[in-house]
């Protein structure tokens, strides 16, 4: 059987399950007695085991199997949850992740896991012998328990049918069929089991639904509710004749059960009506009647993903779509410029219409490429936990706004800088528990990671309640490293001092630690973010904590620019950096130490002559009394760019200058204008110090 066609899906789903494991393990750590969480992890691990065994990745299956055993022991309260055990399980999940990544990269997913397996065995060995001898059996039994102990949800109609049929002498049976883990043709086995059961009675319900069974959307087991005259044992024997079936478990649905069910049903009805679909996939919490509000909330949150109709689309296709659309934007610009020359009202009208429609199209395409930052954030809780333990600090990570969406290209790039920032906050920001108590702070430090939209930007903030930036130490270090002069340092604001730590070659940590402190981290962060067209700033209060704010553009490929003319050449200035444009009188230009400045709404703004920067012939400047300037900003600082004239605003497609011209001063890229000409995009960040 050719399994390659399922490989992509396997990798995707494995990652999802592993992520679920990670999240639930973290939840378990803070709430060790909650067996519902253990069940969640167990389910994820169990599915993973089945999938990997089917795909032939034995090492993954082995490791998950051992992990499952430990989880099972926890679930059956045979061992308690301790940090040590969780560490091992975390490690196992890590290894599984590595193996899945290896498979994704084209490897065979093999890894030496014997040590871990050993450790897992030892954890488990604290248990009665039978568990060690027949771990698989225990696993399956308990898996069945989960399903038969009331995981099924009956609606009123079904309950009526069941009670009526029992009056007529039919038995209502819940038949749970457990397929073998290595079963390849699951659908076929389901079909065969179905046929047998249908011959002997009437099937009134299946879990999962028939559609899901047909699409193979289930683990190793499924349940059929059957009305029959036949005896349970007979049925079991019949079904067991189908090959690749591990076990068949049959329970009678008694009248008492139905009545009891109806009572609990009533209590939960509000929840379930909202989400009848989701019931099928949720673990059996309703029956126990112990649904805590937190869990209920979670259940609701997870359900839209099953009810929303979505399709998986290969990222490459989206990229192609985006590229094609970029071509369209260029042609749109061209059409616009032709139409404006021809002055034909009908042409103008249709071009306008096309512009509107393609604008909408642009929004949709950009939205399609949006990914929640969650995909980056979700690896942080585990990282923070590990780091906190390594550093011997107590740290609580809060994540807010993980659903905020960003373009995929930005998402791909933002992960590493954020890792650097978090490591930095943990290592240098948060103090050790003793220090914190001495300062009268809570022993546990809090790091908040926050993402939100604002205008055309996404902000990601990292706030800690740690020590903050020590002005004297930072300034002293900066002077020592030659980053600022002593005189300049005295005039710096606190914010400017804080931002010194982003300068390259700066590291204030007394010793180099594993975590951070090589002095490369933060300036790499700054460069990466700026190369994404973003911006980073730091606010810090000594003793109270720091706030790192990263501002990122929503998308990278299509941006709005202002086109300006410089000596018959056209340059584009990104609208995101422009504050406003102005025409000033030449007599208003003042000189401050050979630097032309202008008083702009009460602030002194230095002027930058773009012609000079771009080495153009400046002698021909006409004897005009007026000068066009574009006020741009980088963070808090402003500058006025002197240009010849403004042309107008346009949406353009950002193109790189290619590998040959790797770094051009003050140029961030190029674009193709409507007339086919190339225009260069001015990098305002490089022009402002």
């Amino acid at each position: 059987m050719d399994i390659n066609q399922y490989l992509d899906m396997f990798i995707e789903e494995s990652k999802e399950h592993l992520q679920a494991c990670n999240e639930q393990l973290l939840a378990l750590e803070s709430n060790p007695d909650d067996l519902a969480i253990v069940n969640e992890i167990f389910r994820a691990a169990h599915t993973l085991k089945g999938m990997s065994a089917t795909m032939g990745y034995e090492d993954i299956a082995d490791l998950t199997h051992k992990m499952e055993n430990v989880l099972d022991a926890i679930r059956n309260s045979k061992i308690g949850v301790t940090t040590e055990i969780l560490d091992v399980v975390f490690e196992a999940v890590d290894d599984l992740e590595l193996m899945v990544l290896d498979i994704e990269a084209g490897g065979d997913g093999k890894k030496d896991v014997s040590k871990l397996v050993d450790t897992l065995n030892r954890i488990e060995a604290g248990q009665p012998l039978d568990l060690v001898e027949k771990p698989a059996a225990t696993t399956e039994e308990s898996a069945k328990e989960v399903i038969t102990s009331g995981g099924l949800h009956y609606d009123e109609f079904e309950l009526t049918v069941i009670s009526q049929s029992s009056e007529q002498g039919f038995n209502a049976l819940e038949v749970t069929v457990q397929l073998r883990d290595d079963c390849l043709l699951k659908v076929a086995r389901v079909f065969m089991a179905f046929e047998i059961l249908e011959k002997s009675g009437e099937v009134i319900k299946t879990v999962p639904t028939v559609e899901k069974l047909e699409n193979e959307e289930f683990d190793q087991n499924f349940t059929i509710v059957l009305l029959t005259h036949e005896d349970a044992e007979e049925l079991k024997a019949k079904v067991m004749k189908v090959s690749e079936i591990e076990d068949v478990h049959i329970t009678y649905i008694t009248d008492e059960y139905v009545q009891r069910y109806q009572r609990t049903e009533h209590e939960d009805s509000v929840d379930q009506q909202a989400n009848p679909q989701a019931q099928n996939i949720l673990p059996p919490k309703a029956e126990k009647g112990k649904v805590t509000p937190k869990e209920a909330g979670k259940a609701k949150k997870s359900s839209p993903s099953t009810s929303n109709k979505t399709i998986r689309v290969n990222i490459d296709r989206l990229d192609i779509l985006m590229n094609l659309f970029e071509e369209l934007v260029i042609d749109r610009g061209r059409l616009q410029s032709i139409a404006s020359e021809l002055h034909n009202p009908e042409l103008n009208e249709s071009v306008e219409r096309m512009t509107r429609v393609s604008g909408d199209l642009q929004n949709i395409i950009l939205n399609m490429r949006m990914v929640p930052v969650e995909t980056v954030f979700n690896r942080f809780p585990k990282m923070v936990r590990q780091l906190a333990r390594d550093l011997d600090k107590k740290i609580n990570l809060e994540i807010i706004g993980a659903e905020t969406e960003l373009d995929r290209t930005v998402i791909d790039e933002i992960g590493d800088p954020l890792v650097h920032l978090i490591r930095n906050a943990l290592d240098h920001g948060i103090e050790s528990p003793e220090d914190r108590i001495a300062k009268g702070k809570p022993e546990e430090g809090t790091v908040t990671l926050r993402a939100y939209h604002s205008g055309n930007h996404v902000f990601i903030e990292l706030e800690d309640d740690g020590a903050g930036v020590n002005r004297e130490r930072v300034v002293g270090k900066a002077i020592e490293k030659g980053i600022v002069t002593e005189e300049a340092a005295a005039t710096l604001s606190n914010k400017q001092v804080a931002e010194l730590i982003l300068a390259s070659g700066f590291s204030t940590a007394a010793s180099i630690t594993d975590v951070s402190g090589r002095g490369v981290g933060l300036d790499v962060v700054k460069n990466t973010i700026e190369s994404l067209g973003g911006h980073i700033s730091i606010d810090s209060t000594e003793g109270k904590g720091s706030l790192f704010q990263v501002q990122l553009p929503l998308t990278l490929s299509i941006i709005s620019v202002m086109l300006v003319e410089l000596d018959q050449e056209i340059y584009a200035i990104p609208l995101s950096s422009i504050i406003e444009t102005a025409i000033i009188q030449k007599s208003d230009i003042l000189n401050a130490h050979n630097q032309p400045v202008v008083d702009f709404r009460g602030t002194i703004v230095p002027l930058v002559d773009l012609k000079e920067i771009f080495e153009m012939d400046n002698s021909t400047s006409e004897n005009d009394d007026f000068q066009s300037i574009v006020i741009v900003r980088k963070g808090e600082s402003l500058a006025g760019l002197v240009v010849d004239s403004f042309i107008g605003q346009q949406e353009i497609v950002l193109k790189s200058l290619g590998n040959y011209l790797q770094s051009v001063f003050a140029i961030s890229g190029a674009t193709i204008l409507g007339n086919g000409q190339v225009a260069l995009i001015v990098d305002c960040n490089a022009l402002i110090k």
């Binding site: 071509e327 260029i330 980053i483 300068a503 390259s504 050449e569 920067i613 771009f614 080495e615 153009m616 193109k655 790189s656 200058l657 290619g658 590998n659 040959y660 011209l661 790797q662 770094s663 051009v664 001063f665 003050a666 140029i667 190029a670 674009t671 193709i672 086919g676 000409q677 190339v678 225009a679 260069l680 490089a686 022009l687 110090k689």
Partner: protein, 155 residues
């Protein structure tokens, strides 16, 4: 874009610079363009003439005469731009004239003589003698070394 079919022959494009004949392998040549409008890129070495729009791709253009420190010449009717694709980047080379595709037996390519006019020898990978013609084979790796400039605002 056919590659050399026989290992003993190499297909090359022959072009002129200052009345001398140069050659580059046909396999790296994407196309040959007549005049296209070039946008100047500031703060670049003078031999980088700028960038042009080559069917939607922004492509840098290098003037080979200036690259080899030869006398400058205005772009005229016979001048053309050879677009080469080398090491993931496409670059246009301005040459005086490109007029010939030839098969050069690899055996005819020898090391460069001690003196080869004014062209800096590091740009040359060899010299091929075909009949009475002498072709100077270009070393694209050296000619197209990426241009890195340190940002002036490094602090």
């Amino acid at each position: 874009m056919t590659k050399a079919i026989e290992t003993t022959d190499m297909k090359v494009i022959v072009f002129q610079l200052m009345n001398k004949e140069y050659a580059i392998g046909l396999d790296v040549v994407e196309s040959i363009e007549k005049s296209l409008s070039i946008t100047r890129v500031p703060r670049m070495p003078s031999y980088v003439k700028g960038v042009l729009n080559l069917r939607g791709v922004v492509t840098p253009v290098v003037d080979l005469r200036e690259r080899f420190d030869m006398e400058q010449k205005q772009f005229d009717e016979s001048s053309c731009i050879i677009i080469v694709s080398y090491a993931d980047s496409e670059v246009g080379l301005i040459v005086d004239d490109a007029n010939d595709v030839m098969d050069v037996p690899t055996s005819a390519i020898g090391p460069q003589p001690e003196v080869v006019g004014s062209v800096e020898s590091e740009f040359i990978s060899g010299v091929a003698k075909v009949g009475k013609r002498l072709l100077v084979m270009l070393n694209l790796e050296k000619v197209l070394q990426p241009i890195k400039k340190v940002n002036a605002d490094e602090y």
